[in-house]
Amino acid sequence: MQNIEELKFALLLATLAMLIMAFFVITFVMLYQKRKFEAEKALNSIEKSHSKRLLDTALNSEETERRRIAQDLHDDIGTMLSLTKLSLNQLNKIVLEPDSKERSLIHKSQTLVEETILHVRRITRDLVPTTLERFGLSEAISEFINKLEDNNQLQITFHSTADDSMRQQPKVELTIYRIMQELVNNAIKHSKCSNIEIELEINSEFIFLKVADNGIGFNATQLKEDNLVGLGLLGIESRLAIINGIVRYVSPPAGGSLAIAQIPVAPISEKKPEPLYPFKRAKIS
């Protein structure tokens, strides 16, 4: 009988030990898994913020590069062209006969130089949206539309609920402007539309940019799946990623396409934005 009692006790003890071990194994697996996932998550977020910074620098340097080119064009070529124009004017005065062959040649050169000056000016303007920096989004978009409407049959309407005093961070404004540019360019290039509507809405939390056209429309998700998105749509997304914005493409029932970009309003930092204007000193005459 003594033996049996001992056996019972030993059995109980061994079973208990086994159970405790099993319990520890389960706890260990769970803790280990949790730790590992947390570490993974932290790593992911570091990687994400890192790639965001990389993108930011890349886009920043793109803008800087544009600015530099615009500046060079304006300062060097612009000045030289102005000087050439001056010289041509002087030459015009020196040549005496009014209807000589030389005179008409000089006249021709003069027109050419003037045209070139205009072109350079337009290119520099396109490279750096000066209106945006000086007068804000609404003005810049209006100007962009005016320029487009001049040489197109297309009708573009722009509606803004933002007043000009509500300026955003320069980076945000530039992003919205570039996105608007790409969306309108896409509508002109791909959609075969006759009418484009742009809407800018700013409230205390979000900035909404809506670009709608009445063209053939497109399916953004399908494009993404088929890997057909071009640099344009990709650029829009990467620009938005930096300022935490999102973009949605909707196919309205009436046809055409509608792109809605939503960007959170960030408080404007107190420090003055670095001067972005290459055209402060002189205007091209």
């Binding site: 049996i4 056996l7 019972k8 059995l11 109980l12 061994a14 079973t15 086994m18 159970l19 071990m21 099993a22 319990f23 194994v25 389960i26 697996v29 769970m30 280990y32 898994q33 590992k36 996932f37 993974e40």
Partner: protein
């Protein structure tokens, strides 16, 4: 007619409870349509088989007839089914082959074990429990469960273990087999049909953990989501 059954239930409530609790995971499994995934289809077969065997044993016990033959038969079948789940759940092809091999070998071994202990198979009255097969089943199952744990720790394919059906099932079985591994060999000597020997509370432990693993399976199946079945 029901007196026998009710009498058995009142005499051994803890032994009878698992028989009926087996119905719970079966219902949940069917409700959640978990059987669309192969391992859980096997689990369903296992649970139904277990229920059938348990009911037969319950019936025989109620009529005071030796039911140990069915216990012995259930060992290789349940091992085949349970280890079969691991063939689907383990990732490494080597482990899969190992499990498959173990199923064949274990089936042969447990039949041999049963024959050896019971030279006269027709004498069902003096049929006694297999001495080694159940212990070896415990050890093998613990081994496969630990291998599965090892794989999920290495591969990190399950983000939240609390939502993983198979993790719950493994936890249930791990605790059950851990509690049973030392008791199983002793049962051969104590659970003789004629003049059984009591091993006291230790005998109850395995019933408690049988209930526990049935509940764990139920909780796991409750978390089963169809769209993710391939992953978890």
């Amino acid at each position: 007619m029901f007196d026998n059954y009710i009498g058995l239930c009142t005499r051994h409530p803890l032994q009878c409870l698992p028989v009926f609790i087996t119905i719970l995971p079966i219902i949940i499994l069917l409700k959640r349509k978990a059987y669309i995934s192969k391992p859980y289809l096997i689990l369903l077969i296992f649970l139904i088989f277990k229920l059938a065997i348990d009911l037969i044993m319950f019936h025989l016990a109620a009529h005071r007839t030796n039911n140990l033959l069915f216990y012995n038969i259930s060992i290789p079948v349940s091992y085949t089914l349970l280890a079969g789940m691991f063939i689907y759940k383990l990732d490494s092809p080597i482990f899969k082959k190992l499990v498959a091999l173990s199923i064949v070998l274990f089936a042969l071994f447990s039949i041999w074990d049963m024959m050896r202990v019971n030279p006269d198979m027709n004498d069902s009255h003096n049929h006694s429990m297999v001495p080694y097969a159940s212990t070896i089943q415990c050890i093998l199952m613990i081994l496969w469960i630990l291998l599965y744990f090892y794989e999920i720790m290495v591969s990190m394919k399950i983000p939240n273990l609390f939502n993983s059906t198979f993790f719950w099932i493994c936890c249930g079985f791990l605790l059950y087999y851990s509690s049973f591994v030392f008791i199983a060999p002793v049962l051969h000597y104590t659970e003789k049909w004629t003049n059984p020997l009591s091993i006291g509370f230790a005998a109850n432990i395995s019933y408690i953990f049988e209930i526990f693993y049935l509940l764990a399976i139920s909780v796991g199946l409750f978390n089963f989501e169809k769209q993710h079945y391939a992953k978890y």
